[in-house]
Amino acid sequence: MSSTRFVRQFALTGGRARSLGADLDLDAIVVRQPGEWPASRLGPEATTIIQLLDGPLSVAEVSAHLGVHLGIARVLVSDLAAGGHIAVWTAEGGANGPDLVTLERLLDDLQSL
């Protein structure tokens, strides 16, 4: 990534590389909230994210589809969540990892693929 592009990406978030809350996990799932959303008040990148969200997407996917690096995607997603436009779901169990019930369900799902 060239330094020019790097600087330009930070301009998208007003120079913020960190979101207001805790850093979002790269696998946190972003889901569009049902209802109206005011396209005119959102920036072009935020509007693009809302449009991408026909189905649930991870923060990593948002980053890949937008062509911005992970830190930028985190800030844009956090802003949309703070504005009530999207819901963000993180992994159950957090840093401890999934519990036994979740793992057993995963095993069933994989075996029936």
Binding site: L26, G35, H69, G71, I86, W89, A91, T102, L110
Partner: protein
Amino acid sequence: MTFSPSDATMTLGDPGRAAAPPPRAPIVRPLKIVIAGGFAAGKTTFVDAISEITPLTTEAPMTQYSVGLDNAGEVRTKTTTTVAMDFGRLTLSPSAMLYLFGTPGQDRFWFMWDELSKGAVGAVVLVDTRRLSDCFGAIDYFERRSMPYVIALNEFDGRLAHDPDDVREALAISSAIPVMSVDARERVDTKNVLIELVKLAIERRRHRVV
């Protein structure tokens, strides 16, 4: 504050009567598995074999500090590089999505591994048996963190350079860790590796004293 449909409902709500709940976005939880391995060990091929999407790439900038000596004494230099990660996705149910993240195998990307490993189901270490030493770092990393992992020997061109038992011995891997031969292009092989990993994760979880 921008418009949100739920705001109106809350302000108009009658305290004596429960208002109809506003429509909310469905809950969808992520699960993740780390796919580790040396350069060109077949990580993206492995992810692609089972992913429902063509693997995507996300980039994260990283700052490296290196300490060196010159005529003036100790100098610290700071460089910024970008780490690229390929990943794929599998929708398990309307409320659960599995992500497979391929991580760069080089030691200097450990910081990325920390983030990826946090809360992960476990890891698959993909091994090119012609370059066995490429996976030492990954194995050490997962061993130190007691993270469930399995070893998948990628059969290039249908030929396996080493027998799985020989590789287990060469890597000094405990018999509790599955070592499997796979063709990373084959979905059924990828699926079986993930199943072995989840079985191991379940076993570890059952025996963990919390």
